[in-house]
Amino acid sequence: MTASNLIPLLPVEELARRRRRAESQWPEIWSLLDAVMDPEIPVISLYELGVLQDVDVRDGVVVLTMTPTYIGCPALQIMEEDAREALVSAGYSVVEVNISLSPAWTTAWLTSAAREKLTRYGVAAPKELTDQVSCPQCGSSDVSIVSEFGSTACKALYRCGNCLEPFDLLKAI
């Protein structure tokens, strides 16, 4: 059976996250946060990336739950600040951010739409289920790895054998 015949199954924890959003009492907060982008890849939001896990309001305090992509990711702090700023400027005065490690972040949570946005931005995203890599510039699958690590912890450096351009890949973990 080839990959294209498979029904893409969402990991349960990602299904639960989407349900939390769909059933949330605070849809306006989720929407506001859709404008907060990843500081390193400013075309996908914290929600699309999977970093934003939950939104709640307790006693007037907005409580966000976020999960790091990588444990040592220095961008997490920027993400926290950006999320806080977006909410404060929309009138929510007290915002708390909880960092939760479980469930552990994985590229499997990315939707195909988010993968598409990454590719257009020039960062290759592994294909759903197959983890197959193709060049974000020309689409060729004649690619080779240059370095297991790229400009940030979550990326690896690749080169395309067809158009000869280098590119970043969001590593499948």
């Binding site: 790091p68 990588y70 444990i71 040592g72 990711c73 220095p74 939760s100 490690l101 479980s102 469930p103 552990a104 972040w105 994985t106 240059v146 370095s147 297991e148 690590f149 790229g150 400009s151 940030t152 912890a153 450096l157 590593k171 973990i173």
Partner: protein, 252 residues
């Protein structure tokens, strides 16, 4: 020792391993053989320092009072650190750094796979997160082992010397003392003795693939868990802790 004290000790050991090795890796920043490798080593350093923060944050909560993650990193002296000796050895040449990472990461991967099943949910979450990163570290480490082992006569000789020099530090990784034994019985800590066989099989296989001879046992060093360290740790801490020692409480 109460259960809380044991858990605190355990968290500090794991935090110390990660911080000290992370610092050693960070020393390569701007000094690695080429740019991509510079970035790679720095990224791996970040992974370890991130882990150290998680273990220290947990330790700070267990200790209570004014303790924070920084208290443990910046205000303890050499004898208070309980990291494994293999983590503190100077970075050496590139072959030494690669060999240490490979030997140690191969163990850490097995360790984190087990920590995931800890009855302590906090430790289990750290295990699940770190396992993913370590899988990547081990894959990369193996590739470097093969490249250096099968490279030039010089790279092969340097790698062989590195594994020979490191081998006697690997026994300590698998030691269990009363603190760990108690936590293992409670289902909180990982029993490292159960990982040894698989670890040895993995590293032996890769060393054979890399055309290296298995180092002969016959010497073994330990002491890190009791605060007995090599001279090198003091110098490392002098650099790591300088700002907080010179300007206590400094923030930026």
């Amino acid at each position: 020792m109460t259960a809380n004290d044991s858990l605190l000790t355990y968290c500090l050991r794991l935090g110390d391993d990660a911080l000290i090795l992370g610092h050693r890796l960070s020393e390569w920043t701007s000094r690695a053989p080429f740019l991509e490798e510079d970035i790679a080593l720095t990224n791996v350093a970040l992974d370890f320092i991130g882990r150290a923060r998680l273990f220290y944050q947990y330790a700070a909560e267990l200790q209570g009072g004014d303790a924070t993650e920084d208290t443990f990193a910046y205000t303890r002296d050499v004898r208070d650190f309980t990291n494994l000796l293999i983590c503190e050895l100077p970075r050496g040449d590139f072959a030494f750094t690669i060999a240490r990472q490979f030997l140690y990461d191969s163990y850490v991967l097995l360790f984190m796979e087990q920590l995931k099943a800890s009855k302590d949910t906090r430790l289990a979450a750290i295990g699940a997160k770190a396992e993913k990163e370590s899988t990547y570290h081990v894959r990369r480490g193996r590739e470097w082992m093969l490249r250096l082992g099968g490279g030039t006569e010089e790279s092969h000789a340097k790698l062989q010397r590195a594994v020979d020099d490191l081998w006697g530090y690997t026994d300590e990784i698998f030691e269990v003392d009363t603190v760990t034994a108690g936590l293992i019985a409670d289902g909180v800590a990982v029993d490292p003795t159960l990982l040894r066989e698989e670890w040895l099989a993995t590293v032996s296989r890769v060393m054979a693939e890399a055309d290296l001879s298995q180092p002969s046992p016959g010497w073994s060093v330990e002491g890190g868990r009791r605060g007995i360290h090599t001279d090198d740790l003091g110098f490392l801490l002098a650099e790591l802790q300088f700002m907080q020692r010179a300007y206590p409480g400094l923030q930026w």
